[in-house]
Structure formats: C-alpha cells, structure tokens
C-alpha cells in the first residue's frame, strides 16, 4: 500500500516541473515520514570512526574554523545601521534552539526562510549592509555559528499552517525522478540507504549537520551546495543555492529528519 501510494505521488509530481505549483490534493498526508522515527540515522552513523572522531572532538573539527570566524563577524558592526549581530542579539548563545526550527515561514515577508535566508534578511533590513551572497565564506561562517548554538538539540520544524504548501512542494521534489538517470531522492535515501554504492554506504540524506566540512570539498559548505551535487549526480539541472525550490526541499528534509540532533559543524566524507 505504501509503495503504491508513493508510485502515485511520483507520477503526480513527475508530471509537473513546476513543483511549487504542485500543491497536494486535499487530505494528502504531506507530513508522513519517509523513514520511521526510530530508524532515522544521521550521516555521522555512516562515517568511518576516524571521521566521526574528527567531528566529535571540537579541538580538531575543521568546521570550527568557520564557527570562530562567525563569532568575529557576529561582533563586527556593518552597514548603514552600524549595527552588529551582537547589538540586537547579544551573545550567540541567545540563539540556542533557533536552528532546530528552520526553515520557517515568515508571515511578514510571506516567504519560507532557511537560516541563511534569515541571516541575509537581517543583514539587509536591520544592518542595511551589503548582502552576503549564498555560499560566501561570511554567510557560511555566520550560519555555522548560529547552527552550532543548537548542537545536540533535535530538529523540530513547523510543518502545519502556512508551512504546509512549502512542505508539500519539498516533498514532491523529494519523490520526483529527475535528470538523465531519472532517480528521485527517495530512491536512494529512503529505499536504499545502508546499501553499498561502490565503497560507500548510501546515507539517509539527512540535513542535520550543515554547514558541514566535507573532505570531498576540502572546505565547509551549505546544505544547498550538497543538494546541488546530488542533482548533478543524477544529471539534473540543479536549482540555484538559496532558491525557493531548494528551501522547500530543505523544509521537507528537516521534517523527515525530525528528532535527529543538530551536529553543526558536521564532518562528512
């Protein structure tokens, strides 16, 4: 039954590339988890012990370099307002728990914002400073700093009310077969996680460690950079980092990961 339901969802979603327009039919349970709560595993569980140790020991975790850069930026006044993040928020620890609730719908902006989007918007509206481009070192550093404050706290995004259509769009994207290889996110990360692909075990594609230091990148990067790499992996044209499509997908991933602890900065292969 579950499989038939998924096939139907695949067909429906696949028929439309306008994913944001592909809202769920009334009564569709858009919050159904792809992986049962008890089976959810962080990407950390798929790592070699050495890489795991590199993440856990903050004195050697390379991602902490970005967190520390974020602390410097946090205190630096910027823009016409001559305000720093610290001017309004005080210590970064005041934002403990915030990252666990993102992406979140902003009623005033009528937009779904992820943490990067929230920081970008803060910079624009409150600091009146030059925008921080997506994937810039400064935005990665500030995002890593804020997410790090919630390290160990379980992901817990809101999926009801105004977030619903975004969740549905993200979910549709997750189940849509894409690219020249015609593979959906779900086919690897729901249906085949734990199996081997060459020397690698397929992970569940969980988003709980971003920004993440990836050995492959040799640097710290955002969830959207990682998602873009997945799109390229199946030979699909990737959506832009920070695009509404990827923020919606991020919301679905966060809902699907509910309960997993934030690990920022995670270390991945």
């Amino acid at each position: 039954m579950a499989r038939r339901g998924r096939r139907a969802a695949l067909g429906a979603a696949g028929a439309s590339l306008m994913l944001l327009a592909a809202l769920p039919a009334a009564g569709q349970t858009a919050t159904e988890p792809g992986i049962a709560a008890g089976d959810r595993k962080s990407g950390r569980d798929f790592l070699a012990p050495e890489t795991r140790a590199q993440q856990d020991d903050l004195s050697i975790n390379p991602g902490m370099l970005w967190v520390e850069q974020g602390e410097k930026l946090w205190r630096e006044a910027a823009g016409a307002g001559a305000k720093a993040c610290a001017s309004c928020h005080g210590d970064p620890s005041a934002l403990k728990g915030v990252a666990a609730r993102y992406p979140a719908y902003d009623a005033r902006l009528q937009r779904l914002l992820n943490l990067e989007g929230r920081i970008q918007n803060c910079r624009l509206e409150h600091q009146r400073a030059a925008p921080l481009p997506y994937e810039s070192q400064a935005l990665l550093a500030l995002t890593a700093l804020v997410a790090h404050q919630s390290r160990g706290l379980p992901l817990n995004v809101a999926t009801k009310g105004p977030a619903r259509p975004f969740l549905a769009a993200g979910r549709a994207m997750f189940f849509t077969q894409q690219g020249q290889l015609s593979i959906s996110c779900a086919q690897c990360h729901d249906d085949n996680w734990g199996k081997r692909l060459r020397a690698e075990r397929i992970s569940q594609g969980q988003p709980n460690g971003f920004p993440t230091y990836r050995l492959e990148w040799q640097t710290t990067g955002s969830l959207h950079r990682r998602l873009r790499a997945c799109f390229q992996g199946v030979r699909a044209e990737p959506f832009a980092a920070g695009s509404p499509e990827l923020v919606a997908l991020e919301l679905y991933l966060a809902a699907r990961a509910r309960g997993l602890p934030i690990e920022t900065p995670a270390v991945r292969r």
Partner: protein
C-alpha cells in the same frame, strides 16, 4: 588573509606538557589539478609553520603538497614560563600569517 584557529589552554602548571592544535584556511593547491577548461591550476601552498614560545622556537613543520587543505597540526610543548606563544605560517611566496596567544604558567 587566511583565517586561523588555535586551541591551547590559557594556563598550565610548570613542567606540564601542553597540547596545541592549529588550523588555517588555505587551499594547499598542489599544482597537479586542472580547472574546468583544462588549464593547470598553479601550485599554491604553505611551506612552513613555526611555533615560538617565550622567544624560542619549540616546533617547526615543513609542508609539501601532500598536506591536506586547511592545514591542521597538533603538537606539544613543555610549560616553562609565562610568555607569548607565537604561530607563524609562511606560504611559498613568503607571505606570513602570524598569531599569538599568552600562556600563563603557574
């Protein structure tokens, strides 16, 4: 300017072995890679890291292309006296990145 991170205790007992860890942002470009249009990317690496403590060199590292990007190193030093611990990274062009921390020895 590269960013650096230094992990060492603020104070130590005299005679204690102090663990120091440092990391610096740097691509450690090997010179063996090519860009998207097939052009060789020039080698660009940090070649030397030194740590002096109260004016005396206590650790040095020579780096080659085989050191991973964002070079990380962990080493130890004996806590001898209260003083400045100075870290210097020198790249192949001679550019030096310098940081210092005070170690209080009780």
């Amino acid at each position: 300017m590269p960013a650096t991170r230094i992990v060492l205790p603020a104070r130590a007992r005299k005679g204690e072995v102090v663990e120091i860890k440092t990391i610096i942002t740097h691509p450690m470009e090997t010179g063996y890679r090519r860009d998207h249009v097939g052009l060789a990317i020039a080698r660009d690496i940090i070649t030397r890291f030194t740590c002096t403590y109260a004016g005396e060199e206590v650790f040095r590292m020579d780096l080659f292309t085989g050191v991973a990007a964002n070079p990380f190193v962990g080493f130890t030093t004996l806590a001898t006296e209260t003083g400045e611990v100075v870290f210097e990274w020198t790249d192949q062009h001679g550019t030096v990145t310098r940081e210092q921390r005070r170690l209080v020895v009780v």
